[in-house]
Structures are given as C-alpha cells and as structure tokens.
Symmetry: D3
Subunit: 275 residues, 6 copies
Amino acid sequence: MESYKTLEIVRKNTDSSVFHLNLNRPSQFNALSLDFFVEFPIALSSLDQNQDVAVIVLSGAGKHFCSGIDLSSLSSISERSASGDRGRSSERLRRTIKSMQAAITAIEQCRKPVIAAIHGACIGGAVDLVTACDMRYCSEDAFFAIKEVDLAIVADLGTLQRLPSIVGHANAMELALTARRFSAREAKDLGLVSRVFGSNSELDKGVNTIAEGVAAKSPLAVTGTKAVLLRSRELTVEQGLDYVATWNSAMLISDDLNEAVSAQLKKRQPRFSKL
Amino acid sequence: MESYKTLEIVRKNTDSSVFHLNLNRPSQFNALSLDFFVEFPIALSSLDQNQDVAVIVLSGAGKHFCSGIDLSSLSSISERSASGDRGRSSERLRRTIKSMQAAITAIEQCRKPVIAAIHGACIGGAVDLVTACDMRYCSEDAFFAIKEVDLAIVADLGTLQRLPSIVGHANAMELALTARRFSAREAKDLGLVSRVFGSNSELDKGVNTIAEGVAAKSPLAVTGTKAVLLRSRELTVEQGLDYVATWNSAMLISDDLNEAVSAQLKKRQPRFSKL
Amino acid sequence: MESYKTLEIVRKNTDSSVFHLNLNRPSQFNALSLDFFVEFPIALSSLDQNQDVAVIVLSGAGKHFCSGIDLSSLSSISERSASGDRGRSSERLRRTIKSMQAAITAIEQCRKPVIAAIHGACIGGAVDLVTACDMRYCSEDAFFAIKEVDLAIVADLGTLQRLPSIVGHANAMELALTARRFSAREAKDLGLVSRVFGSNSELDKGVNTIAEGVAAKSPLAVTGTKAVLLRSRELTVEQGLDYVATWNSAMLISDDLNEAVSAQLKKRQPRFSKL
Amino acid sequence: MESYKTLEIVRKNTDSSVFHLNLNRPSQFNALSLDFFVEFPIALSSLDQNQDVAVIVLSGAGKHFCSGIDLSSLSSISERSASGDRGRSSERLRRTIKSMQAAITAIEQCRKPVIAAIHGACIGGAVDLVTACDMRYCSEDAFFAIKEVDLAIVADLGTLQRLPSIVGHANAMELALTARRFSAREAKDLGLVSRVFGSNSELDKGVNTIAEGVAAKSPLAVTGTKAVLLRSRELTVEQGLDYVATWNSAMLISDDLNEAVSAQLKKRQPRFSKL
Amino acid sequence: MESYKTLEIVRKNTDSSVFHLNLNRPSQFNALSLDFFVEFPIALSSLDQNQDVAVIVLSGAGKHFCSGIDLSSLSSISERSASGDRGRSSERLRRTIKSMQAAITAIEQCRKPVIAAIHGACIGGAVDLVTACDMRYCSEDAFFAIKEVDLAIVADLGTLQRLPSIVGHANAMELALTARRFSAREAKDLGLVSRVFGSNSELDKGVNTIAEGVAAKSPLAVTGTKAVLLRSRELTVEQGLDYVATWNSAMLISDDLNEAVSAQLKKRQPRFSKL
Amino acid sequence: MESYKTLEIVRKNTDSSVFHLNLNRPSQFNALSLDFFVEFPIALSSLDQNQDVAVIVLSGAGKHFCSGIDLSSLSSISERSASGDRGRSSERLRRTIKSMQAAITAIEQCRKPVIAAIHGACIGGAVDLVTACDMRYCSEDAFFAIKEVDLAIVADLGTLQRLPSIVGHANAMELALTARRFSAREAKDLGLVSRVFGSNSELDKGVNTIAEGVAAKSPLAVTGTKAVLLRSRELTVEQGLDYVATWNSAMLISDDLNEAVSAQLKKRQPRFSKL
C-alpha cells in the first residue's frame, strides 16, 4: 500500500474487507496539517477503487482522535493571505479553503461507508471530519468541541453544513456559539455518535464487529444506501422518491438480490462478490 | 364500507370520527402484498372524502404490526424485471416502484391525520409506511428494523427520504447500513415514536384517546397544520412563512375561529362542523 | 435608550456587552399585542446597530415568559378581516400576518446572538418567538404548548417552519396536532432548550454567564457563525460549503484572528474590538 | 376507444402510432368545462398505457383551438365558494383548483410526447394547457392571450409556472399583466411555438409529419428525454447530471440501442418495439 | 407628496392612478448616489401604500435614463472599506452592498407593477435597476451595457441574478463578460425590453397608455399576478401550482370577479375599487 | 506545454493571454473518444492554473468542430456494460457516465472564461460540450443537432441540463425530441450562439478579438462574474444577492479597482496583474 506522511492504512486481517485508515501524527495529536489535506482524498480514493475494501474505519493513532487543524498550517494560510493585493489574496484564500473542504467531502464521495471510531479529543477540524463520516462511535473518554469561534474563526470545513442534519439546527447553533466542550455521553444523547464504548479497546473491538457486519452485506445495497441517503438530504421527498426508484430500476436486479433471497430461504449466510 | 382483501376499516363507535384502518393479513404478519399497494390509496382516499372521518388510526391485525414487503411480491416483481429487453424491463420496474411509493405517499396526500399504532414487528416496508404517518406510537413489545439492505435492496419506499427528518440524517444512516433491530425504547429516544405504551391494549386505548383529542379540534386547523408542516419541509423558512400567511389569509377567518374563541371565553368545549 | 410600551431594554452592568430585552407587559403575561409587533423589530434593530451590544438575552417580566398572542389583537385582526370584500380582506390579512412574521424574523436578521431565557408559560406565539432565537434555556417551572390549533388556527408566525429543524419533523407534527402541554424536562429531551435550570434565579444567572461567555468571543466570528448557520439551513451541503469559503475569504483575516492566536499562545484572555 | 363528452381520440391511420386527442366542443369554441377536467387526465392516462400510442397530438375541433375556461364552469365554482363558512369554502375552492391543475399536469405525467397543434383562439386556460405540452406548433391565424387578469383572476392553471421557462420571466410578466392579444408570429418570436404554418391544413400535415418522425424513434429514448428534461427543470445542473447518469445506467443498454446503432451502420431505418 | 433629492414623483393627471417616479438628477445623468439608495425604497413604499396608485412608471429626467452607480459614491464606499481591520471592513462592506441591493429589491416588494421607460443610457447599476422592474420599454435611442466588469467590479446589485431569467443564462454571461454596449433593437431581440418606441415622446405616450391599461384592471388580479409570478420563479412547478391554488382560495372570490364578469356580459368597462 | 492525443493547446501570440484549446482529431471530425474525456479536464485544469492564461478559446481542427461522441467509444462502453451481473454493470456504467460528465463540467470549474468557436458540425456530444462554455460563436457553415435520441440514447452529458437555461425549456424539448438539424442562423435566433460570422476565418479573427477584449479586463472581475453567474443559476434571487454581496466584500477592494478607476479618469487603458 501507498505510504503517507499523515496517514496509515491497516488491514488487520487479510481475510477481512474492513480497512483501517488512521490519522497518524500522534505526537501532534493528529492535528490536520496541509499534508493531511493533500493525502486524505488520495487515500480515500485508492480505498474506494480497491475491490478488497468494503468498509473503512477512520481512527486516530495515540492518545487522541484529532486535535483539529494544525495551528502552524493555519498561520501559514493566514500569513500568505494577509499580504499583497487584498482582492487577489481573498481569491487565493477562497480556493485554499475550498480545496481543504474538498478533502473532507472525499468521505462522502467514497462509495463505501466510512466509520469514525473516536477516542480522546475530537476538536475543531476533527468535528468537521467526523460529521462527514457515515457512522460515528466513541469511547467513554472522548470529548468534543466546535472550537473554531475561540480562534476567531467561522468554522469552514463542514461542521456548520453537516452538523445540523445530525443533531438539529438548534444544538448545532448552541455548540458552535459557545464552543463548549461536551462529553461522549452528551454526544450520544445529541445523536452525534451512535454508541459509547466503555474503553478504547472495547471501541476498537466494537467498531470492528459493526464494520465486519456491514462488510458482509451486499456491497451494491450498502453503497447504494449511502449514495441515496446523501442525495436525498438535498432533494424534496418527491424528488428523492423518484431518484431512488430510478436508482433501483438500474441496480435492484442483481446477483446480490438472488443470493440474499436464496440465503434467507436456506437460512445460510449470503456471500456477495466484490464491487 | 368497501371491502378489501388486505385492509379493514373499523369505526369503533358510531359517534366517533376516529376511523381505524387495519392491515389485515394477520396470517402473513400483514406483509405488504401487491394487493395492498392497490387497495391502500383507495382506502385512504375514501376516508379522506368521508366527512364522518376526522382522524385515521393505522394498525396491524394479529401478532405484529407489519413484517414488511411480501417476499412473494418482491419475487414476482424481480422475476418480471429480470427477463426481456434490459432497457424496457428497467423502465417497467421503475414504474412499478413509483406506483408502490405513490401508495404510501397517499398518507401524506390524505388531508386528515394518520396515526400509526405499532405493536410487534415493524420491519422493512413497514418502516417506509410508518414514516409517512403523521404520528407514531408503539407498545413495549414493538421492534423495528430497516431491513432492506439484508435483502440486498436499497430501501425505495420512502424510509431513506422521510426518516432523516424524523431521527436525523446520522441515525438514519446508521440504522439503514446496519439493518439492526431496535427496540420500542430506542425508537422513542430516537424520536421515531412519540410514546411507548406498556401493553398492546394500553396502546389501543392510549392512541384512541389521542386520536379523539385531535378529532375534537377544528378540522380546518388540523388539516391545515398537517398540510403546512408537510409543505414547509421542502421550502426555505422565508418561503414557508409566505406560504402559511397566504394559507391563513384564506382559511383563518372561519366559523371554527369564532367557535373556538367563544368556547374558550365561556370555558366550554367547542363543537366544529365537519370538513 | 428608547422607551417602549411592550418591551424594556436593560443593561445590568455598564461594563457588559450583554443586553437584556424583556417582554414587559407582566399583567398580561406578556401576551404579544399589535404594539409588540411594531416595537420588537425596532428594538432589535437598534440593539444590532449599537456597538456596545454583543449578545441579547430575551426574557419575560413577571410570572411567565409569554402567554402567546394577545387575544384582543387576534380579535381585532379577525374582525377587520371578516368584513368588506372577501378578496380585499384576504389580501389585507395576508399583509398583516406577513408583517407580524417579519417582526419575529427580525431576530434572525439581527447579526448578534439572541438567547431566550424562558420561565413559566411559553405558549402559542411565544413558541414562534423562541424558535427564532439562537439559543434557548429555561427554568424547571417552564412549560410549553403549540396551542394554535386549539384556537382553530394554523400557527403562522414561524413555529411550523422553524421547529422541525430543532426537534425534528415528527415531534413538531405531534406537538402541533395535539397542542399538548410539555414540560421543561421534555423540552430539553426534544432539543428545544439546551439546558434546564433549577429555578428562575439560577436561570438568570446561568444564562447571564453563558451570554457573557459568548460576548467575550470575537464578534466577527460569533456573528459570522450565526449568519452562516442560518444561511446553510436552506442550501445544499455543497452550496453551504462554497458560501462559507467565500465568507471566510472576506472575514477570516482580521485583527480578531491575530488576537485570538496570540492570546492562545500567551495563555491569556483575548480582547476584541467592537463590531 | 372510450367515449368522452369533451374529447375525441382519433387514430388517422391504423398503422400509425400517432394518436390525435381533440378538444371536441366546437360550438363552445372548446371552452374547458368541468367535464373536461375530469375526462382529460383519464384520456391521457389511457393513451399513456396503450402500447399502440407513441405520440399524442392535441388539437381543437372547429374554428378555434380553445377559448379558455368555460365561463359557466367558472361561475358555478365561484358561486359554490361564495357561500357558507368562509374557511370551509376556501378549503373547498383550493381543492377544486388543485384538481383542475392536476388535470393539466397529466400532460407532463404522460410518458409520451404531447404536441399541441394550435389554430384560431388560444386564450386564457388554453395557454395553461399548451404550456404543459412538450411541443407547440400553430397556424398563421392563431392568436393568443393570457386573459385571466381581465376576468379579475390570477391565472392558476399553470401559465404563471410554466410560461417563464418557455418565453422568459419578463415576457411572461408583460403578457400576464397586459392580457394583450399576440399573434402567431409573435408567439414564434417569443419561443412559445416552434413553427408557424401557413394554413390550418398545412398545420395538420406538418405536425403529423413531425409527430410521425418522433414516433419512429426509440420509445425508450423519447420518453426518457421527456422525463429527464422535465425533472432537470427543477434540479441544479449537478443534481440533473447525476439524475440522468442514474437513469441511463438503467435504461441505456437496450435492444433499442443495438437496433439504432445497427441501423445506422447499415444505413437503414431502425425499427423499435413498443413500450 | 414627499420631497426627495434624487427622485420626483409626478401624477400627470389627477384622475389617473398611474404615478411617475423619475430619477431626477439630470445633471449627473441620474447616476445612482448613496442618497438614491436611501430614498428609493422609501418612495416605493409610500407609493405602494397610497391607495390612489395602481401602477408606477419609472423614468429618468433629462438626456439619459441612468448612467449607473455614481462614481463618487463608489469611491467613498471603497475608501471606507480599504482601511482599518480587514475583517471588519469586509463585514461593513457586505452590509453596505446588501442595503443597496435591498433598495432595488424594493421594486419587487412593491405590490404594484413598476414599468421602466428607458431612453438614452442605461448602464451598469441602471441595468440592475430595470431588471427588477416588472416591464421594460425603451425608445430607439436607448443603449445598454453591463459595464461593471470594466470597473473591475462583479456586478452586485441584481443583474447577475435577474437578467438570466429575462434574456437567458448565455446572453447574460456574454453581456456581462464583454461589457459591450447594445442597442434598443438588440435589447428587444433579447427580450430585455418588450417594445421599442420611435422617439422619446412616443415612449412616454406609449408607456402611459400601457400603464393606464393595466391600471384599469382589477388591482387584486394585477398585484396577485405580480406576486405569484415572482414567487413561482423560485419554486418547482408543483410548488408553484400549489402556491397559486392557495392564493386563489383566498383572493379569487371578490367584488372584482363579480364586476369583471358582469362588465364582460354587459360589454361595458369594469370599474374596480382601490386596493 | 503538455502533449495530448486528442487536444492541442496553441498560444497564437506570446504576448497574448488568450490560449486556444483545439479538439485535434480532424480525421475523426474530432469525435469525443475515451481519451478525450481523460485529457480534457487535465488540459483545462492546467490552463486554469497557468497565470499566463486569461481566456480560453475552444475550437475544432479540420472541417468540423466536433461530430459528437465517438461511436467506437460508445460501443466499448455499452459492451462492457451489457455483460456480467446486471446490478454491477449498471453501477459501473453510472460511474463511467459520471466521469464523462465531470470532464465536461471541468469547463465550468475552470475559473477563466471558455469561448467556443464553432464551425461545421456540432452534433450530439458536441452540443453537451458547447453548452458548458461561457460564450459561443459560430461561422455561417455551422450546423447543430441534439442527435442522441436517434441513437436511442437519452443525452446524458449536459445538454438536457444546460440547454434549457440558454434557449428556454420549450426549445430544448423540441430540439431534443426531434433531433433535427438546425443552422447557424437558427442557433443565433435561439440564443445558442451570440454571433454568426460570415466565414471560418472571420470566426477565428472575430472570436480572437472578443477574447482579447475580455483578456484585457480585470481578471478578478472576469473570473468573479463567471463564478457568480454560475452559482446564481441555482439559487433564489435573494440567495444569489446575498452570495454576491459576500463575494464582493472579499474581492471588491483590490488593485484592479484602483487601476480601473484611475485608468477611466485618465482615459487610458488599464493594466491588471495576472491572477
């Protein structure tokens, strides 16, 4: 597999189609550097195209999941933008932000589910990152904060766009304006994570089990469900229904459907070919 | 009243304007057959036009609310679509799915509130059905699953479009990708049901009381609230405000308003004429 | 400061940039009169333009936060609309409703955060009011009801448009159709309020602390976060990301950013100039 | 074929898959009566399901295409709505208008192209009708007017929604506010009709030739093009592109594609099976 | 009537409900100054509320309709924004632009039709102004240019938002990127104006006749048509149809309808009361 | 410069910032091959990043602009999709179409204007290509056809999404359903091209002059105008106004503005630095 400065891809078991994508700068608490924004979409795209991969688990190496954007990266961006013609520097800054956003949106563009397994800090840019994931789980020690406002920044990597559909508009506003820290427990109550595991190792094991469960399902149905849910987020109900009807007119009739029905009748595990 | 193969309409009390629409194939756990998709919109339309009806309660006869789409119906659809010209069979399949969707959307097109009373299994297509209802209540023994992905199917009857606005985008994704079973209690925590009743009979009684309560209110205000809320789901706040202002410029001034205000002042129960 | 018939503006501490906007007709339980709808947007606009103001706390004088729309105002509106040419009276009624809506939308048009501190009754029009606020807190004794349907009215001042994005579409429907009263505790569970305080005085103190906390942050970041979150509510994720990138290309590079970073490095409190 | 009071279905040639749907109350200048609004969607639906039909031509019997809504129908609607409870009569009126709108929208819901062949008057409701058609042609003697404002009516059967995408927003506004009559020539310049034929019989012949031309093409491609264009009208470009990609993933691979390519290579006419 | 620095309101005939709103700084070719942006919405609002007014004609005093934004205003805006904290100056500039935009959008918020009568130059900001009008006519000597790009400015007062729906997206792009001048004749061909009059005096007379024609129609129907067309511009066809049905359920039944039908039957001119 | 199989980049004059991007398979009438869809976005992206480039002219080498999609490419796509599991082949086909669409959308993602100079045939896929350009000019001998339906294909590379906003929905439908050929003259009348030049060499010269004209303007204003117009295409007017106000709060204050104003006052040509 490719080698990255800020990431590590691990396949814990060569039989498994669950791949682990680790934020891998533990000494910096996995702060998101400019390198990260270059490498992350490349890594996701390669996982998406790799037929051995069915599900991706995103976690952080070391003590924390991720402490947010790297302050030195932020400084270099802001310094570069603070000089020269104001119009041109604004235009450049806008492009920089959009390319960083695109790195995170790569999670949604990956056909396969990306599951965040969060422990320790999940702060600022890290929240932008996990809100783009398809599922989120955390350990008891995890804590969260939409910290940008404390850096005098309007969060611009996706939290303000994706969090409201996860925790509701009002909770998103309260968390973003106060920048307050909240616990794993509250994250669960808010719906930001689907389950809280007692410890880091339970998190690993638990998320792995869930990921293997999804990986054992029809890849056509799993990637289709992800794609349709994401698209429906921005369509009216009527448009979304029409979209999924069109989708299924193409994708429903498949070997997977036969295999699933047959396995169900014979009460055996289905086996699906790769996508 | 009309007679249906898959449904039964019951008026428990001839004084009452609450009508009960029962899924009525208990031996099949009320699995949704092709007949159902024909009969259901007809039944709802007749209830909508019937001036004696103010509120509709949807429940399932027998042990379970509904076990989802009938597997033999699914097979007949998929077999029909698997042969002949691929383009034409896709086109036909798309129309079939759209007509099944339309059957469920009939709940939203019915002006009057439809309340789901759920016990036992509420699986797959049954979730599509209840997410289109206006309110949902269940008994302690109810359990739920967005099961389609286990049949290698992308759910296409409305769950992926309507569930996110009920439980949030993230919960909808997690439930749809894992297909895991969840309990009445979790359904309540997620906001999928508004209350859990201790037993089936408490559910019946409780929902009936709630339904009678709504049925006693101004039918203009009740049907208007349903219509405006559904429409506002797809409009911006500004457009939604303009819409309801236009709506009320037509509907606000009514005998119901006079009656409601007068009853309030005289501290008596208001009585509204039928709609 | 200006003097209002229905409102009172209080600055508890001349050092503070937290201003309190009180509904101030306690003898009427702060019912929303026609005067209120005239004065409220004026008051908010003056607070928005006042550079001494960073955060606004909205509360109610006396025993209750607000009992909803004033019945005599409602009567005068409906009487005026019930006579004369039906087309013309409808047109006039529509304009009246729209101007009342605009008074409440003034909360969203105010750049600065508006925090509702709710005690006692928060009924009918009061719910329209608080759903337009940026954050909501209440005391233990608070209770809520979307009461309009009991007056034979389709709620038309914003609840049906804004509540679904706060508590979900399904909860909004259930509360609006049943008009049932719900407690502070349930309001918290639904996400309508962010915290419940044990008593009225704890509410005052608690909200004040939260407001001072927000007021101490960069006003550019705070007002920007509010504006971007509100706009993103109606854009697709892609459009919202583009919007915030454009926003930050203009607003990110600022004295506030320098000050925030510098304070963070020196582990001191940042100090921002007014906006 | 079914028999209608206000319509006539003619198949000029039993070999042809072009069917003619005539407005058939020539003594009333084909004014649109309440019967018409009932019969029209039924007729279109039967033509849509009839596999012998590939293209539908809509014309008017007698001297004029259509003089708009029947005044006696309008009177009966307005009389019925002018009495009784104002709220209830408004609610009923809204349903009446919506069902009349639905009758015209049936043109868009018909999978097959509907071509309007217009001669003589095309006034008021007739413009609503033809703007829902897929193509429009007229003879030299045709004339048009969006006449509703002269009856003190805001046009409510589709002109205000569909005309702007045909002639532009500004032309639509000018024509709707002035209610002025405009000629066949101007209709062509505005883009309302695609061609003006010198006489009525040339119109008949010309439209027939065009219709036969479309009828000879792949029905999958023709109905798909109609469906995708209509849907794209309300989607962003990005959403529309995604939609058509999904559509074609289902419908592209077909016998029709093979036949079309093979015919092209052999320089012969393709022959497609019915849809 | 009120007195304005940059505008003049003229009622040519005390019997007439056509009011003329003149840009009135002929020595500056009616360049749009900061004063204008303050006065214009005030003037329109007063005309909107004045029951004597049915239609407003917007023209320019002197040799040209309007030469666009006043360069000294532009300079003062840009100077003010070029100093001080970059974040704060951007925020202030954004508010300035939005308030100037709001001044022009006042044309759409005015219920009554606003007709632009254009002669001589119509350049830059003047195009923003006329694209917000409901109808546009010009004299032979008129000429137009979307000049902003030549000042190194992205047009920000509405042209880029409104012109595409008038002349199509492609024409708007070509005109905005080249900033080329185009003639009255081309403006007509593009659909930007509805008619070209031979001379200035013919323009005056012609527009007056058209305005009187609209002013003689039902004010309910005229203002309703404007409102519905503007709203439908941003709704799907289905949403727009539902909106106008709701609108007409409120506004259709009126004295104006009776009067219009009765006048039509008696072949006399209808007379409507003011709005 | 890079070397391409299907394209050629030409800078006619080393002083010029107008770059010519030629479709360069004249022996195949520049039919769009699979190679093209790979190379085209790469070429556009490199031109976008190249600071020497201000404007791009897209033309075709040889006798025709472009004859549409390469039939052998189409065959290879359809063959690959016609075998194997139907669900999987549909999924693969959808991705293939989306990547071909993305190649064309690259024109819109390029910040700099792309001008199509069309001669000879512009058929099928070529129309998809030019509708994504910012301006279109052609020579007298050019001819056009939306030919896909004659290949039994629903056009899926953008024509159905972009053409309606250029020529109106109705013209797009008529051209797409009939697949008829239309002339340069009609393309001009429809608004598809902005001007028709008498000959091929006049086209070259004329487009070059126009391109040089745009290239001499402020690059900030030119790229901003393109970006804002494209974004506004999918926003409401209110959203679009807010967007451009935010844009200009970032980009308005620039060296270009000073230079443009100064040049205007001194009546000299402005000179802008590169972007």
